[in-house]
Point group: C2
Chain length 200, copies 2
DNA sequence: TACGATACGGACCGCTGGTCCGCTTCTCGA
DNA sequence: TCGAGAAGCGGACCAGCGGTCCGTATCGTA
């Protein structure tokens, strides 16, 4: 157990890189336009420092996204309804998807960058496995899906409806307003759950 | 209207590149492992030839995938039911999604490569716009979705359930058998359409 | 066969993510 | 306070990528 506390300048630089990367990703249209060299320059550090702090490009993006994700995660794990554990599944599932949608809407740049930079596939991240398992278990506790063996795939499909590039496409290129998008996703989720939807 | 017929060696090389690329993408785990230089070498041509024939990497992959997609497309546009136009929407929608799923299962490598290489987003391709419009219109003709304004998003969400990387993840890494995956997607589609599903 | 149009091919380019190592800066015991 | 050594810094450097260019070889035609 050799736990050393990091040097002061190290943490300062780490935070500078974090802030610079956040700003750059937020300010640029496509995440590919932001190079590691750009980030290092904007943070006022050398590339070596950047890579020492976060390992590689994916590590940096993951750290950025993780920071935004954390409040949602705690709200889901130990918060009040409708996100927290003390919520009946038919209510919690749409709440969860809505939270995910909002997160990706508010952090499109990072979310797209993460899914794109996720090595091969966004499906091999632990983040994804976590959300999927949670959603699958909730679906299993809803009559329409319990025991059919399809809850697993349904969880994948529902999560796919909130994929970052789709959200970015609709909200960004498509110009769909935030509240409308949320309503559409809610409609879709309701239909999957078998919950009643407003008639056409 | 200056229509010139291409030289013989040009078409031969074009086909050699096509075949070589097809084989290489099929044989490698990740599409990123296949470089343009690899393809040129495998085809026995220079890189210049390769790029002259297909423009750029995306163009080549699109040509490969397009060749596999074409039969499906014609079957949808002018084939017999359940894919063709003379099919009631509640039957045609699942048939369409199933066809798309099978296509991506059979050509995982290409499909993943295409979605990944699709410049920024797979949502800006004309392929996607085509499928989305078709699916949206079909949904509009199904009572549960007609006029709700949500058919557009539902079409996106249903297509997202057949995203290439998800399919590849489930079929490849996850080891889900082909027929089971088709059944799961059918279940999911049915629940979205409001069609009866087998009870749990 | 000879000649112009066409296509070939691989050296070359710009740029990227990532590494390396001589030098600076911090930390901490004396 | 000081100094030695660990920890960290930074930018020159590297390998590999997609893509370009142009002198040269090949094809089609008269």
């Amino acid at each position: 157990m050799t736990e050393r506390k990091p040097r002061k300048d190290a943490t300062r630089n780490r935070e500078a890189v974090f802030a610079a990367a956040d700003a750059l990703f937020a300010g640029c249209g496509s995440p590919e336009d932001v190079t590691m060299a750009d980030i290092a320059a904007a943070a006022g550090v050398g590339k070596g420092t950047l890579f020492r702090a976060y390992g590689d490009r994916t590590g940096l993006i993951r750290a950025l996204y993780g920071a935004r994700l954390e409040p949602v995660r705690t709200a889901v794990e130990s918060g009040p309804p409708p996100l927290g554990p003390d919520t009946p599944p038919p209510v919690r599932v749409p709440a969860l998807l809505d939270a995910l949608l909002c997160l990706k809407l508010d952090n499109r740049h990072l979310a797209v960058a993460l899914e794109a930079a996720g090595a091969d596939s966004p499906y091999r991240t632990e983040h994804y496995a976590h959300w999927h398992a949670l959603l699958r278990d909730l679906l299993e506790r809803i009559p329409a899906w319990a025991g059919t063996g399809s809850a697993d795939f349904a969880a994948h499909a529902l999560l796919a409806a909130t994929r970052a590039d789709l959200v970015a496409h609709l909200a960004g290129d498509g110009g769909v307003p935030r509240e409308e998008l949320r309503a559409r996703l809610a409609d879709f989720t309701a239909s999957v759950l078998g919950t009643a939807r407003p008639a056409g």
